[in-house]
Assembly symmetry: C2
Homo-oligomer: 771 residues x 2
């Protein structure tokens, strides 16, 4: 058991670590050659360009202005400066609301921490149960346990304090949650109301159009909506199955990259022609001239693309039974999206069209029955993934021993039998399988969501986030509290009475406080501090810069600003909500650590959102009901565990008083669901009508049809044949579609690096070596 001092030392180390991260960051970000990594958002918005040519050569890469190093923590207040409305303009509502999750954590836990320390800590501290236990039964305990509920003797009347506190915490959390839900629902409605005209306001995605013998899909759609929405139908765009075409375009882009690489190499080393082998990974096969080979390949692919493109456009089989239907008014689109069209509820399914950049094209053609089956399959698969993922990993681990390796690859025997290698393999390899799995887990979950058939990237991410949360709950929280693999827990829970489960977990809760405090510091504090360094994008950028970049456009591509990553980020935050709520009435000691995490993360992510992350889509905070629901779930879990814990403590009459809490909480959730959730799913007709009326008054001669004509065309069809940059096209398309007026013309929160002139030449290899 750790003493307070141990925790203090650990905290000190972790704070120091975070501090070092910040110093490294402060130094790195001031170097002009890192500019595109640490200010990529501004480049993406076109508000900042590479430092102009001129000035001292060294100054192009290294910031020699020592004054700028002095205020190395300046970015923190700078990050907090940008007001919320401006931040919405700058980075979208999604980002702002995402930040509010951290803010919500602060709002919930700051008063709870104060109250808990003012009331619960003295109540817990002024007992001597643990000391007695030490004397009598030789049970060791730490100072932290003295601050926790463990220090209160059984049958004590002092448990009433904890019950009252549990009520206070619940009421406060619910109050803050409700206020926040209200605020965010208003923000969303206001955002939607104040937005400029966007294609998705007028457009509805129609899926599962039934096949018709006489009419093409396009004609069918037109006739159907002309008949059933006669005064409102405007135009439509059918969806083509361009998945193969998209693959070809991708392939061509890859080949182009290789060609660039070899041309660059050839340019540097003019004397020698570069030969490559065609076989697997270039290890064997026929030797050919690299540049010629790739030029020929690109040519071939270009032709294939042309052919495929023609086929997609002309072949009726390539037309998918889905279409984007646009209406004359927002009112009509709202009506169509919210109603059922035909008797058969599996045909002519209408829903709001996602933003053009949010559409997940390849899922648009899945029929209804298939969707149900896919969903069921994925539920089952996820169940096994959550509870039995450890089985194949244990199998891999059993193989990844010295004996296993020698058996599979006898020629490695000499190497692995060495003493040093042996210890490395034995200590390191077994862990690697698990680490790899956990690293790939978000991608696995994302693939599962894609298979399930969601039609927008935002909904894919929301589903993945939900699954990641469940996985964390089972495999991080529960597995840490009651040690043992998930399927062992499952087994023991199946064989325990429902009454007993909260008790089993509840009893273990106070004992694990130290562990979770360490976890918060290592995973939370250090993780957040590490996030700001952007290590992976930094390395990748400089590698690309060194080997591939030829032009300014290439350099833009070399940036990898990343995004918020809702599907992994939000479930991680939820774990802290869960820990905070569970430990608040039990071990208030943990709360300050949670608070530091939330504060730190708030500042860091605010900085990242302002300066780095790219906004991939705008869902107008559609994820908030999920966030709210999960905090409620954490609250209920905490109440059940407290009930279990007090049950084992023989706290007189505690259970009957606590049982009302989850009931009230769930009732509160139902209320919030009915009261606020519709704002996130539906689009009120009044709002639509207001916007329509305003618009028709302002722009009576608007050519809406022209505006909507090409809004929902598959990205591969946008642009000419030779364009090899899909992402860029998408990017341009965004700019066309969503005109976010940014008031801010220059960025003021970095010490004017744009004054430092100079452009890193693509042919200079050392720009890469500096990484």
């Amino acid at each position: 058991m750790a003493t307070l001092q141990d925790i203090g030392v650990s905290a000190g180390i972790n704070i120091l670590g975070a501090f070092i991260f910040f110093i490294i960051f402060a130094i790195l970000r001031l170097q002009p050659f890192n500019d595109r990594v640490y200010f990529s958002k501004w480049y993406l918005k076109g508000l900042r360009s590479s430092p102009s040519r001129g000035g001292a050569f060294a100054q192009r890469f290294v910031n020699l202005d020592f004054r700028s190093y002095i205020k190395f923590l300046n970015w923190m207040p700078e990050a907090l400066k940008m007001p919320e409305p401006e931040l919405i303009n700058h980075a979208g509502l999604d980002s702002v609301v995402y930040l509010r999750i951290y803010w919500l954590g602060l709002k919930i836990f700051a008063p709870i921490a104060i109250l808990a320390w003012a009331v619960l800590v003295p109540v817990n501290w002024t007992n001597n149960t643990l000391e007695l236990a030490k004397q009598i039964r030789n049970v060791t305990s730490s100072d932290i346990d003295k601050l926790s509920i463990s220090n209160i003797p059984e049958y004590s009347m002092r448990f009433w304090t904890h019950i009252v506190m549990a009520y206070a915490f619940t009421i406060w959390t619910c109050y803050v949650l409700m206020k926040e839900y209200e605020t965010i629902a208003n923000m969303r409605l206001q955002f939607v109301a104040s937005e400029a005209r966007r294609p998705d306001q007028f457009t509805v995605l129609v899926r599962n159009i039934p096949p018709d013998a006489d009419e093409s899909v396009s004609e069918l759609v037109e006739h159907f909506f002309l008949v059933n929405h006669p005064d409102h139908y405007l135009t439509h765009q059918v969806v083509c199955n361009a998945n193969k075409l998209a693959d070809l375009v991708k392939k061509k882009k890859k080949l182009q990259n290789w060609l660039d690489y070899y041309q660059l190499k050839y340019a540097r080393n003019n004397s020698q022609r570069i030969m490559v082998k065609l076989g697997f990974l270039g290890l064997w096969g026929q030797k050919v001239d690299a540049i010629e080979h790739y030029i020929a390949e690109i040519d071939k692919t270009s032709k294939e693309i042309g052919k495929e493109r023609e086929e997609v456009v002309n072949d009726p089989k390539a037309i998918m039974p889905a279409a984007f239907v646009s209406f004359k008014t927002r009112w009509a689109a709202a009506v169509c999206a919210q109603t059922q069209q035909t008797r058969n509820p599996t045909q002519w399914l209408t829903e709001w069209a996602p933003e053009p950049r949010d559409v997940f094209w390849s899922n648009l053609a899945i029929p209804y029955v298939s969707l149900t089956v896919r969903r069921l399959l994925m539920h089952v698969a996820f169940f096994f993934l959550t509870f039995f993922f450890i089985v194949p990993i244990a199998f891999v681990q059993s193989l990844a021993t010295i004996e296993g390796i020698v058996k599979v690859a006898p020629f490695l025997k000499v190497i692995v039998e060495g003493k040093f290698m042996k210890s490395v393999i034995q200590g390191f390899l077994p862990g690697i399988a698990l680490k790899l799995f956990l690293a790939f887990l978000p991608s696995i979950l994302m693939i599962m969501s894609k298979f399930e058939g969601f039609t927008s990237i935002s909904s894919l991410e929301r589903r993945s986030a939900f699954r990641y949360y469940i996985f964390n709950l089972v495999n991080v929280f529960l597995a840490s509290v009651i040690t043992g693999a998930a399927f062992e827990q499952l087994n023991s829970f199946l064989n325990q009475s429902p009454n007993q489960i909260p008790k089993t977990i509840g009893v273990a809760i106070p004992m694990k406080a130290t562990f979770f405090i360490t976890y918060i510091m290592v995973d939370g504090w250090a993780g957040v501090a590490g996030e700001i360094l952007m290590l992976k994008p930094l390395i990748m950028f400089h590698l690309k810069n060194a080997f591939l970049v030829k032009t300014e456009k290439d350099r833009e591509e070399a940036m990898d600003p990343g995004s918020i990553g809702f599907n992994t980020g939000e479930p991680r935050i939820q774990l802290y909500f869960l820990l905070g709520l569970v430990y608040a009435p039990v071990t208030p000691m943990l709360l300050p650590f949670i608070l530091v995490f939330f504060a730190l993360a708030y500042i860091v992510y605010r900085h990242q959102i302002i300066n780095v992350y790219n906004q991939e889509y705008e869902s107008a905070a559609a994820f908030w009901p999920d966030v709210h629901g999960r905090v409620i779930a954490a609250l209920v879990i905490s109440q059940l565990l407290l009930m279990g814990l007090l049950g084992t403590k023989h706290a007189a009459l505690a259970a009957p008083f606590l049982i009302a809490l989850p009931v009230i909480t769930i009732g509160f959730h139902r209320f919030c669901k009915g009261r606020y959730e519709p704002a996130f799913i539906r689009y009120p007709l009044q709002e639509a009508m207001m916007k329509d009326t305003l618009e028709s008054a302002r722009e009576p001669n608007l050519n809406l049809k022209g505006y909507l004509q090409n809004a929902y065309i598959h990205p591969v069809f946008k642009g000419d044949d030779d364009d090899d940059d899909m992402d860029d096209k998408l990017g341009k398309f965004e700019d066309e579609a969503i005109i976010v007026p940014t008031k801010r013309q220059s960025r003021r929160n970095t010490p004017a690096p744009s004054r430092i002139s100079g452009e890193s030449s693509p042919s200079l290899p050392f720009s890469g070596k500096q990484v």
Copy 2:
């Protein structure tokens, strides 16, 4: 343990009992003076009137045509004759679909019974486990057990048969359910499509209209819909709080009844004025002349009604924040009902207007927050009602002993101390509290649903049915299987592992087969046979006829045809589905009894629906998703119990093979929900548009506004001041609103009782004595 012979004898007795009921029924229904009881539906439809005056005096009351007694079971084929489309016209879609529940039972269980008897019975029979057990451990067992799964030894490979059969039963049940869901969804859509014009097709119920300082509710509604549905809004009717007025009208009606009674008495016995006491139950208080007193009272109440009526109409506070808004087209009404109107989803709530006669007026003004709280409260209350109802009853029972009575009322001592009375009280009284509670349970559940705030009678009944089903499941099924009160079960379940619960119940299942067979015979067979006698309405009718009836209209009122009673009937059927599905793989012996129940009930209820029951509302089979869901629930329960049972039998590997069943079943349910349920909740725009187009072509000059103007006026405002008959008004109102064209002009399925002339005179006392 009962042997096969015992069961046979019991079955014989029950069949005989049912037969006797049928004979009594056959005799009673042929008597003209019972005509209004056994053919009330035809009277309500106006297709049959009281036997005309003339002919022999006796023939007016007694059917002396002996030929008609010979074919006394004739009504059975007659009941089956009427084809379904005609039955829909005659009694509405609700009744027809209700009958299909019984039909569904036959369709599910007939093949299952054949399969089970062909496969499972031989497999079970050809073992000797029970005989061995008898010899070794002196365990007694019956022949029924020899036919059941109990007869198979542990670890036997024969359990594979049961597993395969469980799959077969599940697949068959799901297949039938799906087909049925499809059929009924189509019937509903066709019914809605082929219906004549009805006010509710054009009307939307708007609730929670926000208060406005400047405008009255009526103005507010008009402005809101003129702005937000400019091309479609037609008219609206605000809802008044006429609950007090309705009470007064009811009171007046009651007084009028008494007056009628005394006037009748006075007319018969002209010499003497009738005096009544005004105190409690007429036992004490001032003596007054009865007729004068009631005339004065009625006069007073009439004045009060007039005053109240004026107040309701003029007082703005009596206007509730709810309105029925009508549109020009069905399309617009469908749009408004299915969309959200404003930013605040708790205001301007729109939903389909129920039919005028289905509206539950007093619930229209409940605000949103109150609804959430009420719902939560009722959930909690129902939980306690289900699990702890036995506590107060046990308390009452403890009072209802001889000692208790003597204590409360010492003067009764002489009576109750008598030997005979003593045994009666001790044997009878304790049971009475429980019986009374169970008799009032449907009413209690109905009151709970009303408190919850549903706005239509059909939804009230659906909610009550759900609660009644749960109550039956816990307190009839579970309580019979594992003997013990519900709260004891709850306690033991909370303390058992989730794994263990199906085992505990599963093991008890085969042992309770005999009990449930008896239950099916007594509650099912005899209950259904008793239903056809209509004993209570018969007695009530003749009592009223004897004492109150003066005119033809009074006689009409004296009829109490009753209705299907979805809220009690459907949960009872569901119990048989549950029993059938649970016992199909365990004790196939039970299945024929279930089949007989379903067949008998189908015939009897078809007869009753054709000839007796009044249709109170038409919800177009809106209850089917509930029915479907409960059969699925029964299926899942049966699968879990089979898993539990096989688990205790050590059936090798059985559990893993069975665990897929509930997963598949739930997946199937999800599929059906998505595929068919929308037909029961939403109204497709295509259908609406088709009807609108047709109508505008057929009747271009229709005055829709005039048609809808007064459709949704509170029943107390319909008709003039002196009308003392609300029900009648409601009835008339129905006829106005819903014109159900009936092709059938005369009823052919009774042996021409209309030929027998004669009218029962109201002043003849012996028409009452004949009962």
